[in-house]
Symmetry: C2
Subunit: 342 residues, 2 copies
């Protein structure tokens, strides 16, 4: 165990950067100067940022530091893919309290390195500082996209198909499971948590992936979604963002929402409606996008990677609605995770 | 007074962004999507990040929120100028505890807007979230630079002149003054703090500026510094960074270090050596740069903006030295502010 104060900021950064290699031609200058230098030539530049605070966004009781490093990178990559772009560089701001030692930070960075290697992203800079309480992680991701091929939230048109990748609600079920086991542990239960058969839910929560494969598949079939977002706050919240930004309405069908068998099963255990987990759970990091109706044949048959058509865009006057399995029509309301709301 | 939870994240962002306007052609898409979209055409892209944590980097007892907003933007702009670039966009990550209300955040953003307006920077995105304790500010600044005209830390050559802009040590004296008055206040002293005649020192600490004027002056006289940094941790620390990155030594002269009369006077009050304040105080946000010896005539006469030649670069074998006023030669050691060191 090495205390961080023994190294100081600059030696700590040197140590954490060991093993990171530059993979992208667009990275002209990396860690070690006042700025990183990038050159995207004729491509456009995408920039996104996520701030993760201990106790608000993660709980180190059940989230290992390596997983946290991985996830904090992934959630940023996901935002770049959600514009139909490709993440290329990231910068890490770290606030560290005295509770953490050098080895802890190395674990966190090992997770980031795994993510960077898998997604082809360069870690090009950062700012590492002391914090009075807990761990603060601020990541900025920079990516590239071709002009005219960027999918914003604002491009959805009446009659467009609404598509979603993978399945929804599993990350939320994973969180509920982890919280339940934590409570057992806090009460002095000495049983090891039993997640047998539920690994998928835990993994969706602790080690999500970003949908690089979808962006590559869209490129192969030469489709640019008219609008796109990643599902981080919950399907409802993201749908409403697209409707608002595009000035349209939408109609989705409850029985079309892709929900994994395990998610449905766990929902039952928790006496929850699995549709509500999918609509409001969040942290799935799947892609929600719209394409013209003429794409129906392509997308209704897309199984690898899996894409599901869950409904269509309507005129704004028709509102944002979900048709439940019993045929009832309900307003979509955002009850997704919002750390600042009541 | 409006509680932040009454608005929630998205309405808060809408409110905070009121009055911000896009000023740069390179800003293609701003706040409101998964990413901001930038287009720097044939320019290169600079990226820098600073993380500011309450209790570590700022003390709200004496730092008004508007000043804090201004300063947190400026320290990032300064990093971009330090590469011989121009800041164009910034992204703000904010972690806010329940202690703060909507009006507090509006004050903070008013300060950022002042900085953005003065320096021609667009605020293009961010992430706003709850925090358990205190205020967390994470700013990423993106800027542009011409290929071949970027000044890194690594380009200083033997015999180059070492130049520094403005004067050094005043921000540190301002901090000592503020801390002294805070102690009086904490002890129940009911006198208003008396900063009469010392406004310059207080302003250097609470409302620093970035040296846009220097970068513009260098452009006018068509000079690209061989190396450059901004003085944020202290002159000693920055000189050692340049020497290490460039593989050179340096020799600076104590009596050449530009120190304002007020800084010298306050140092005496505090029984401190003003040279030590300049070498190790930090937060001056002046530029330290090197230029070829042939530039001597140009830079020895540069008074507006003020630039002082404080020494020259040497072979690495000669080490990094300061020649004191009495002619003695001393090693330069970094004792600058380092939140992670002992």
């Amino acid at each position: 165990m090495t205390a961080i104060k023994e190294l100081g900021e600059f030696k700590l950064i040197d140590k954490l950067m060991e093993g990171f290699e530059i993979k992208n031609e667009s990275t002209k200058l990396s860690v070690g100067d006042d700025c990183a230098v990038l050159d995207y030539k004729n491509k456009q530049t995408l920039v996104t940022k996520d701030l993760l605070l201990e106790g608000v966004h993660f709980d180190l009781t059940y989230c290992p530091l390596m997983h946290l490093g991985y996830k904090s990178a992934i959630v940023n990559f996901s935002d770049v893919y959600a514009m139909n772009g490709k993440p290329k560089q990231m910068i890490v701001g770290l606030g560290v309290s005295k509770r953490f030692d050098v080895e802890d930070m190395q674990e966190l960075y090992a997770g980031m390195k795994l993510a960077c290697d898998k997604y082809g992203v360069d870690l090009v800079g950062g700012d590492t500082t002391a914090s009075l309480t807990g761990l603060t992680i601020s990541i900025t991701c920079i990516g590239e996209a071709e002009e005219g091929k960027i999918s914003k939230r604002s491009g959805a048109k009446d009659t467009d198909l609404i598509c979603v990748t993978g399945d929804l609600g599993a990350a939320y079920m994973g969180l509920l499971l982890l919280e339940r086991e934590k409570k057992v542990f806090d009460k002095g239960g000495d049983d090891e948590p039993d997640f047998a058969g539920k690994e998928y839910l835990i993994e969706r929560q602790l080690k999500p992936e970003a949908r690089k494969d979808i962006i590559e598949a869209l490129e192969r079939i030469n489709v640019v979604p008219t609008s796109m977002m990643d599902v981080s706050d919950g399907l409802s919240s993201e749908l409403l963002h697209i409707c608002k930004a595009s000035g349209v309405g939408c109609r989705i069908y409850e029985d079309r929402i892709p929900i994994d068998y395990l998610t449905a099963q766990m929902s039952e255990d928790f006496k929850l409606n699995p549709t509500m987990a999918a609509l409001n759970g969040g942290e799935d990091y799947e892609l929600l996008f719209t394409v013209p109706l003429s794409m129906f044949d392509v997308f209704s048959q897309l199984n690898n990677p899996k894409v599901t058509i869950i409904g269509h865009i309507t005129d704004a006057s028709l509102g944002a609605k979900i048709i439940s399995s019993d045929g009832g029509e309900h307003d979509i309301t955002a009850q997704g995770w919002n750390s600042l709301a009541e």
